[in-house]
Symmetry: C2
Subunit: 356 residues, 2 copies
């Protein structure tokens, strides 16, 4: 695992090693515990994912001894369509879980992968998804060490669902969290927001117009590791997924008990995203992302932290977007260019179709 | 967590804390990242599962420092019906992952839980499933430390699917595995086989006749811990799930490179199970279980190990069912009462409907 592999090469992983003429589609028997399942695990999953830490995919994996404190997380992925500009359900299933660990202040190490496959899923589709997972795991420098396969009847599961769980080791003794946030802390954002949600809607043809936009789906563990390596005192981090930037910061502000002020004009949004949001009546602050995070640091570390974000994402427009105040309201306040202020809340959940 | 809680009390956990009049069913918005999802996680999942190790369900959980070598596993659960005699998808999702860790020679410690919920699922159904998971986790002495919720459209996901991943700590430096099996080793079985598969078929009304039979779904980590506490040199273990006893032992024999002989008349099968299998034309050796395991130990530890199995499951008919021979065929040979011999192989996977 070098982390240097060109992710653009992920489709060049060769042909599916299972004989597609015999089994062009997933059958119920591929989850039945017999020969077909064994062949699927051995020839497709293990050959792509290289589960080096266990002797048999599907059993427990034995891990090397891990010193220090650990973090554990899980996420299921049900995105439609399975492939979208900038990613697919396989890469997303790696990025999402890697990022959950990373923003908890942990270095992601090991992932599990549980597949729920729909009867009739083209074997080649599964092969591409698993190849993409393998490439994403290599890029993020994590190992997929154990897995499971279930097959459900045709018409269920939208092709396939993936669950990944992950464990990682904390970078330092003081994990980040809302409770560590202090007055005057700076709020930094790692890049432009809203791309994933809009890209998914575009891929589904739900926009009503053509849009060339790539999801922001990406692993953020390397940039976060750099923050720790450069001794930035990270007070709090959140990755921006369902519910977008606003939801993440509302929860962080509530958890900290302090008021956070952010400036609308400092929040980077691509022109394509803001245009699409205007037409659809969506607020980009609530649109999903899969490769962005906010980080709260002391004022005197803000420039150093921002410089690290810029080194890792020179094209992403990382920015300082606000400040923690001394008010103990626990609210998130958005200030517009004209100076008007608006308190942001969690949305009801009904704004957007599911996009994760 | 005491492990002494009567699992029969799992339905007495009180009423669902979410106001069922407002939200009697799961809505797409319950997975949308907003207020509805937060309420669902806080009032239903966290209140039942008591995720003591993390500050917020859905984030990473911080784990206490774990000395020693770890094992990690994952499994998705897609069983229909959601409730069956002797268990439900919630208890099954705990037992299955606990058991995978246990037969790897690890003490199960922490579980993650990923839910894929179908729009329209009655909230009360979800509440019962989560209550049952909580009871099963208490009985097995494991903590469910982190989770995730996704909602998919009505018509998908058969009500709900659950993924659990788990980590555990190895009981000793020499984890069990087929490579440790030696000539003359004894093959022990922890109880009667085939109950889960037949109970599920009965619950689906697929038998064509009435049958009162409880699934064998149960956690086996406590009896396995006793084997290690009593210094039994465990050479290999497998839990019997999809594919049943035969599939597990075929894989073990293949992995060991040695021939295993088992005696048909020594394998405990309930009368109801063998009758149902006869009528349906099924071989109980290939029918699924969810609370049984085989353990291979040296000949001179066989009696002590069997006595421990009997203490933990006095009603389960644990038995010595065979012996490892010196032949290096890697085959599983079944001998009948009449002395005829039959080599057992993996089935193609098409014998049974999905039952896990």
């Amino acid at each position: 695992m070098t982390g240097t592999r060109d992710s653009g090469s992920k489709w060049s992983g060769g042909n599916c090693p299972l004989p597609l003429t015999d089994y062009p589609h997933i059958q119920i028997a591929h989850g039945g515990g017999g020969r077909l399942m064994r062949d699927l695990i051995r020839d497709l999953f293990r050959s792509a994912l290289g589960t080096t830490h266990n002797t048999e995919m599907g059993d427990s994996a034995l891990l090397p001894v891990l010193d220090g404190e650990l973090a554990m997380t899980t996420d299921s992925y049900v995105v439609r369509p399975l492939f979208f500009p900038g990613g697919d359900i396989g890469s997303l299933a790696v990025h999402g879980t890697v990022n959950d660990l990373a923003v908890s202040g942990a270095r992601p190490l090991f992932l599990s992968a549980g597949f729920i496959l729909e009867e009739g899923l083209p074997m080649e589709t599964l092969w591409h998804v698993v190849q993409s997972m393998a490439a994403a795991a290599r890029d993020a420098d994590v190992s997929i060490v154990t897995g499971d396969t279930k097959v459900v009847e045709n018409g269920k599961a939208d092709g396939l669902y993936i669950n990944t769980a992950g464990i990682g080791r904390l970078h330092c003794d003081e994990p980040p969290g809302p409770g560590r946030i202090r007055e005057h802390d700076a709020i930094l954002l790692s890049g432009d927001i809203g791309r994933h949600g809009i890209a998914i809607m575009a891929a589904r043809g739900e926009l009503g117009f053509d849009l060339e936009l790539q999801s922001d789906s990406a692993a953020i563990n390397h940039v976060i590791a750099s923050l720790y390596e450069k001794r930035i005192p990270v007070h709090c981090m959140r990755d921006l997924t369902r519910g977008g930037l606003a939801t993440a910061l509302v929860e962080v502000a509530e958890g900290s008990g302090l008021e956070m002020n952010i400036l609308e004009t400092d929040i980077p949004v691509l022109g394509e995203v803001s245009t699409a949001c205007e037409i659809l009546g969506l607020d980009p602050l609530y649109v999903a992302n899969e490769g962005r995070f906010v980080v709260v640091v002391p004022e005197d570390s803000a420039d150093a932290a921002l410089s690290i974000l810029r080194q890792h994402g020179p094209d992403l427009q990382p920015a300082r977007i606000g400040t923690v105040t001394g008010n103990t309201t626990g609210r998130l306040v958005l200030r517009s260019l004209l100076g008007t202020e608006r308190v942001l809340y969690l949305h009801s959940g009904e704004q957007l179709p599911r996009i994760c």
